[in-house]
Symmetry: C2
Subunit: 422 residues, 2 copies
């Protein structure tokens, strides 16, 4: 069988070891400076310290009356204390005078505290009449006041390098008065689906040809991370096209991802070329379904070859490419898994020695989640991916789970069905 048989899948690497090998051989990208308003979903390249106090001034934390707390000592329902109202302070118009003995200023939440006042009596604890207010409850000093720097002090560490920016974080950056921010630049990815049988939508299909569907899936899964797809092409099984794609992508991309052409078939020209020009770090993983994954460095650039069958391509995207992107994008921390614990409605078997990824549909019925394995022939796409919601991952040393077992399913969707079935 020649060279391919020799380098074949006789020794399958464990998933954990192969992922480790990927992560050890890639590095985070450099930085760029971008407007804060464009930074949602980006990763901080620098620690962020506050340059300001927040709030920047003492302000009312509730609607009511700004008072001198000493004036309302002992005020109660039965013993109201009457203060003279000398003005009002809103967020749009501050009170520029001063609050003296037995005086009060009508104040809105967020408005700057007037000089002299040190507390706010809540609106509901007062009765306001023409020019006067009767206070029915005492307040201590600084009650219902947000003090300058109370939330954040100037110089305080807000976010560390590597922080993945959520919309609330970007709101925080704005509040600090930052107009721009230094982030890891996007990871440049070149993507190809390999196979002469693959056609694009709109092209005429000859016998044996099918419509390509992997590129949109891989790029779609990666799109929640800071990724720039440099090119996304269909490559025929033709040495010249394949060499050109690899050669140009090695020059202008941080990561090259292909689907198809990594098994032991005879038409696997891309695998041959990667063996020729690159250093193959593993080829073949004990992962079902997704065995023929290939990882190599070509001129130092990481190349991940995924299987062509769409289900295997999807699973290996989640298992290899996404963790690689997170490291290259500079993300510090743990991707939050969206896990649903539910009851398995039928038995699943697994092969010892292989990490098994079982596509499952998850439905909420009454107050319980039901987990149903979705079977399909091999790694055929449609009937499995379109009916599944997530993955049940079965370790190498477990032979499967019986019906009725409680299992954790890693959900890849944002929305799942609700007690319904297709």
């Amino acid at each position: 069988m020649g060279i391919k048989k020799e380098r074949g899948f006789k020794r399958l690497a464990l998933y954990s070891e192969s992922l480790k090998k990927v992560l050890e051989n890639i590095n985070a990208v450099g930085f760029e400076v971008i407007p804060v308003d464009s930074s949602i979903g980006r990763v901080l390249f620098e620690d962020i310290y506050s340059g300001v106090d927040v709030p920047p001034f003492d302000r009312a934390a509730m609607d009511g009356f700004a008072v001198r707390s000493v004036d309302v000592t002992g005020a109660s329902e039965t013993n109201p204390i009457r203060l003279r109202v000398v003005g009002e302070a809103t967020t749009s118009k501050e009170f520029t005078g001063s609050v003296g003995e037995l005086e009060a200023v009508r104040i809105d939440t967020g408005a700057r505290m007037p000089e002299g006042a040190d507390a706010v009596v809540l609106l509901e604890d007062t009765d306001y009449r023409e020019g006067y207010v009767d206070v029915y409850r005492s307040v201590s000093k600084y009650s219902n006041v947000s003090l300058r720097g109370e939330d954040i002090k100037r110089g305080q560490l807000i976010f560390r390098r590597g922080h993945f920016l959520h919309p609330v974080d970007v709101a925080v950056l704005r509040s600090l008065g930052l107009g721009s921010v230094k982030v890891f630049r996007k990871v440049k990815v070149s993507l190809a689906s390999v196979g002469s049988e693959l056609k694009d939508i709109g092209e005429e299909l000859k016998p044996g040809e099918i419509i390509e569907s992997n590129r949109i899936m891989v790029s779609g899964v990666l799109s929640k991370w800071p990724v720039e797809i440099v090119r996304s092409v269909i490559l025929p099984d033709d040495p010249v096209s394949i060499r050109n794609f690899i050669d140009v992508s090695v020059k202008d991309s941080d990561l090259i991802v292909t689907t198809g052409g990594t098994s032991l078939g005879k038409g696997d020209i891309i695998t041959d070329y990667i063996y020729e020009v690159g250093e193959v770090l593993f080829h073949g993983v004990a992962l079902q379904p997704s065995k023929p994954v290939l990882f190599a460095l070509v001129n130092g650039k990481p190349f991940i070859g995924l299987p062509g069958y769409p289900v295997a391509a999807a699973i290996s995207t989640y298992m290899f490419v996404e963790p690689a992107i997170l490291k290259m994008a500079g993300v510090r921390g743990l991707k939050v898994p969206s896990i649903v614990r539910g009851r398995l409605v039928r038995r699943v078997a697994s092969k010892l020695g292989m990490l098994q990824v079982v596509r499952c549909s998850v439905r909420k019925v009454d107050n319980e989640y039901l987990v149903e394995p979705v079977y399909a022939s091999g790694a055929g796409v449609l009937s499995s991916l379109s009916r599944a919601d997530g993955f049940l991952i079965i370790s190498e040393n477990i032979e499967g789970y019986d019906a009725g077992s409680m299992v954790d399913v890693i959900i890849y969707r944002d929305v799942i069905g609700y007690g319904e079935d297709l």
Copy 2:
């Protein structure tokens, strides 16, 4: 205190009832037809049936040799059966001849099965020599073959109306040969932050003024759903600006969302105007922190007024605006909550009768998640939102949880820290 005191927060609506009221008074938007490749994150307006068989022809599910299963009956390690290899079939070049008695064709995964053959013997179960192959294992009919229509039959229901499209689903739509798809159009949202004290980045701050930060947060949280932000403005507390914003937004938007100006303060001009021109369905919710939420219909268009304090604005965005968007966008199903169960490191108290939303940071330490409530004065933004990862929601009838309790936290981030603290 006049009209505002009367319509005030004396009767707070329960959260569940007020959300129900929002959902009862909004409707899904109409449809548009878009290219399939732009449909990730969109919602199907129509049921999708397959117009094709998948796979479209019988094909090899593994690399190996296409054979007549009857020819290899009884083949074993000790009793190999020798077949004559008459050609090869790859995904790029099918074998156009026929497989006769004791003949085989070298075949790649995905390649069309040649006429006459009805099974594939795996490569590893053979020994290939010049022109011949020795088969060491028998196969039954259709072994390692994906039959035409096996995954999906022409006419089969694939997705229902209301399905939120994940990248794998779009790959499926492509495989079906669909070039375009009918989806719910995006929900048009007009957004305003109300308050004369609010300035944009780059503007000079006078005493009492602060930088606006709510719009990016609200639109950022909604951006994972099919939403088009029609306008996103800062409105001063000025009746003319506010009337203009409402009047134009009612005409060209599906939903109007404002932050600020919904409490009982004196400068709440937007609330006055909504009471004047709209039908207020509730104002004030037993939700902490986020009491002053207002929901109204203005000329039949839904208006959601959120509190101005950033933490309250963020919480009410998740609690009211996001569920409203899901219904208006036509989504059928359940948003998958990203829940982490962890151990509370200190006691949290809650007020009976209020639904309490506690911001918490979550860290993984050893094999356990630790949940730490993040306190800040009132609903001040920075020190709480930037340090929290999710919400612990405490029902109206629970007074709090003791340190050491196991609690569920709804994570709003994609990435959380890993055993580290700021």
